[in-house]
């Protein structure tokens, strides 16, 4: 469509009606060494920023320098969290379709990311997510009933009906409130981390940004400030190929996202985002850097958004509907499951039982949550919540408007 002498506008590699084929990863487990996290310079990570760190191979075995030293118990815990997230997402989508909640966003295909990465951290570490990392809450022990109440926006919503679904906040788990404007958390996280450094606490902050959102100024601020002040922060770009309908090639040229970090003198890694073990291991490595005063690590998490952008989106309008099955990264849950089976720690039967149990738990949580109200029927948080917590105390003009609202409500 574009005349080459005119504005060059890149298109997505595949569009509806075309056949998606990505080929195989160029990198296999073992291809990349593991530099000493405390001694390495950003230059020492060039190969890691341009390559792809993997641990789980195509044959489901684990190998290579990045294979983390963790036992299968932890992997089974991770598997359970991922299964829980997937089932939870399915249930929420069903609720959305029946009008019980207004909107939803799934993590389909990206379940490993926040779960493996948060498990690789300590409990005192701060998690500063986007809407695509709800799984971290399971790791930090959040009750599903409370999560569902938020999504419905009922009386028990701890966000008090103020934000759209999936905009969780969970202070007890140091999981910081999700904000809709994309990118803002990335630079803010550097400030959270600087405060930990100032207080000389062994606290690390982890945050994520999408491939699309990396085009915002906040991405640049985050890398620059993190580099200058050596903030103890882990800066992840989740490159899931798409920003709604816009392909990641509008966010980067042919260089990788991880590459960007090197230009700020921040050690940078590129990791298979559907490989639980590789995610765990790179995050541990980054945490060690941060907690020993070596500063930030930048990680590109290479993955694929297998579902629609959100419940409002229809990806068949802009990409082949079978594109996700052509993705070489596979399904993160299946891959970990197969590995655990292959080493004899797990079985298809156990997996089935697990899924059935969690399905029951989710169903039960759902039933309990709707007791506190649903979107269609209420009860909703009181509209008093419009006026509270705007400021630490209610100033006179809000008090007056609040009274006016009460009068109109007939209170």
């Amino acid at each position: 469509m574009t005349d080459d002498k005119s504005i060059h506008v890149p298109d997505a590699p595949f569009r509806p009606g075309e056949k998606a084929s990505f080929g195989k990863w160029d990198y296999a487990p073992g291809d990349l060494e593991k530099p000493d996290p405390e001694a390495c310079s950003s230059d020492d990570t060039r190969a890691h920023a341009e390559g792809l760190i993997r641990v789980l191979g195509d044959d489901d075995s684990r190998s290579g320098a990045w294979d983390p030293d963790i036992d299968d118990g932890i992997l089974l815990e991770g598997l359970e969290h991922m299964v829980r997230l997937r089932i939870f997402d399915e249930r929420m989508m069903k609720m959305q379709r029946t009008g019980k909640l207004s909107f939803y966003m799934r993590s389909l295909g990206e379940e490993a990311i926040a779960i493996a990465q948060t498990m690789a951290l300590q409990n005192q570490d701060w998690v500063f997510p986007t809407y695509r990392q709800p799984g971290a809450q399971f790791v930090r022990g959040r009750d599903m009933v409370s999560m569902i109440c938020h999504c419905i926006g009922n009386v028990e919503d701890n966000v008090k009906g103020r934000q759209m679904p999936v905009h969780y906040t969970y202070r007890d788990g140091r999981y910081i409130s999700v904000s809709s404007p994309v990118g803002t958390q990335f630079s803010q996280a550097v400030g959270v981390a600087m405060a930990s450094a100032y207080k000389q606490l062994d606290e690390v902050t982890i945050t994520w940004i999408g491939d699309g959102a990396s085009a915002e100024g906040d991405y640049h601020y985050a890398l620059n400030f993190a580099s200058v002040y050596r903030a103890p922060v882990i800066l992840n770009v989740v490159n899931n190929q798409w920003a709604i309908s816009t392909h990641a090639n509008l966010a980067s040229g042919s260089s990788t996202f991880a590459d960007r970090g090197l230009a700020y003198d921040v050690p940078s890694l590129r990791v298979d985002g559907n490989d639980f073990l590789a995610l765990y291991s790179t995050t541990q490595w980054a945490r060690q850097r941060a907690s020993t005063g070596k500063g930030a690590t930048h990680i590109e998490v290479l993955t694929y958004r297998a579902g629609a952008h959100s419940s409002s989106d229809d990806p068949s309008r802009y990409r082949p509907s079978d594109e996700s099955s052509a993705w070489p990264g596979g399904d993160p849950i299946d891959r970990l499951k197969r590995h655990l089976i292959s080493v004899g720690s797990w079985s298809d039967e156990k997996q089935e039982a697990l899924e059935a149990r969690i399905d029951g738990e989710v169903m039960q949580a759902y039933k309990e949550a709707v007791k506190y109200g649903d979107l269609a029927e209420g009860p909703y948080p009181s509209s008093d919540t419009i006026f509270t917590e705007v400021y630490s105390e209610v100033p006179w003009h809000l008090r007056e408007q609040w009274d006016e609202m009460n009068r109109l409500r007939g209170d």
Binding site: M1, T2, D3, S6, I7, V9, D11, A12, R15, S102, F103, G153, N154, D157, G161, R162, Q163, M164, H167, S179, S180, P181, V182, G183, G210, G212, A213, S214, A215, E216, G217, A243, I244, S245, T246, L250, A251, S312, R317, Y318, L375, Y380, P381, S382, S383, T385, I386, F387, V390, H397, L398, Q401, W402, M405, L408, R409
Partner: protein
């Protein structure tokens, strides 16, 4: 003429202008291949080419910046900010740069950028998909600001904006994209059979600076814009009073003559908008109108607005001015 909803009317305005002027380019997040998350540019890339209708990186600041440069270099860029809530990363480029270029360069350079953005609440968008930040643009000399309310004026105002030699920010009430909203979330009419959905297929304009008398009466003047125009229609009905309903359409410059004329007639005035009260554009309206019409006013000018709080999600119907809240203000004002 043809019946169009607001999305179709906007699409038609873009299409007409892409046809008429090869300097017109349309771009923004998800605007190209996909046709926009609200479908306002649906089909335009296919028709006009990817060099004229295209996707951008997810960067409102970058979008405004390239629009600045294109406008300076002879084009007529029309860019979309996906939600008005996301216009703030571009705020510096808009208020410090785009708005001031002509003046700062002694008239040597200027940039006739059009920035379209869906604004306002009523779609359960909560905090960051519901704001109506028009007043934050009205304080910036060099910018024009318009706010559509119907398919007819959405198209006419947008064409005027694109043809304007000055930069214009065009707010579109997303709640009204597919139908007018009369304040009742359970009643979801479409634009079918609405007189303002009768839209010419070709080129026409609504001059920037001109208000629209949506309803005539003599007891009170109601000034509003965007979604609230329709809610006011309902409220007037509920109040039983006879009111002029003025759809402002343009905020900068605004149609003072029309309003002064009406208030001189009615002696009473209420301004209704969705945005928070403090420093909303209703403040400018009230301040200006009392300055002009002081001696003829028979009651204080009232503002019925969103509360001075962020925009909520589940409780949005208690936030947005409702027909009954407005009707009560009308009754109180008429009786004052």
């Amino acid at each position: 003429m043809s019946e169009m909803n607001m999305v179709q009317a906007i699409n038609s305005a873009l299409d007409v202008m892409l046809d008429r002027d090869e300097n017109v380019l349309v771009f923004g997040e998800d605007v190209g291949y996909f046709g926009g998350v609200f479908r306002t540019s649906d089909g335009l890339q296919e028709k006009h080419g990817a060099h004229r209708v295209f996707d951008t990186p997810l960067s409102e600041g970058g979008i405004a910046a390239i629009a600045f440069g294109m406008g300076l270099n002879g084009l007529r860029p029309v860019c979309e900010i996906q939600f008005a809530d996301y216009i703030f990363p571009a705020y510096d480029q808009i208020v410090n740069e785009i708005a001031k270029l002509r003046h700062r360069s002694g008239g040597e350079f200027w940039t006739p950028v059009t920035i379209r953005t869906p604004a306002g609440g009523g779609i359960r968008g909560g905090h960051h998909h519901s704001q109506s930040p028009e007043s934050q643009f009205t304080h910036t000399p060099g910018l024009k600001v318009v706010y559509a309310s119907t398919p007819y004026n959405a198209k006419g105002l947008l064409i005027s904006a694109i043809e304007s030699e000055d930069p214009v920010v065009v707010f579109e009430p997303k709640r009204c994209y597919r139908g007018p909203f009369y304040g009742d979330p359970h009643n979801v009419p479409t634009w079918a059979d609405h007189p303002d959905a009768d839209v010419p297929e070709g080129h026409y304009t609504i001059p920037i600076g001109q208000a629209r008398l949506a309803k005539e009466g003599d007891e009170c003047t109601i000034v509003s814009w965007g979604t609230m125009v329709h809610v006011c229609e309902k409220a007037i009905e509920m109040s039983g009073a006879s009111c002029d309903l003025i759809d402002l359409q343009s905020l900068v410059p605004w149609d003072r003559d029309a309003i002064v004329e009406s208030v001189s007639k009615t002696g009473r005035c209420i301004i209704v908008h969705e945005a928070p009260k403090t420093s909303g554009f209703g403040a400018e309206m009230a301040a200006s109108i009392q300055e002009r019409c002081f001696w003829g006013l028979e009651a204080p000018i009232r503002r019925v607005t969103g509360w001075d709080t962020p925009f909520p999600h589940t409780t949005e119907w208690d936030y947005m001015p409702s027909p009954s809240r407005i009707a009560e203000a009308i009754r109180e004002t008429v009786e004052a």
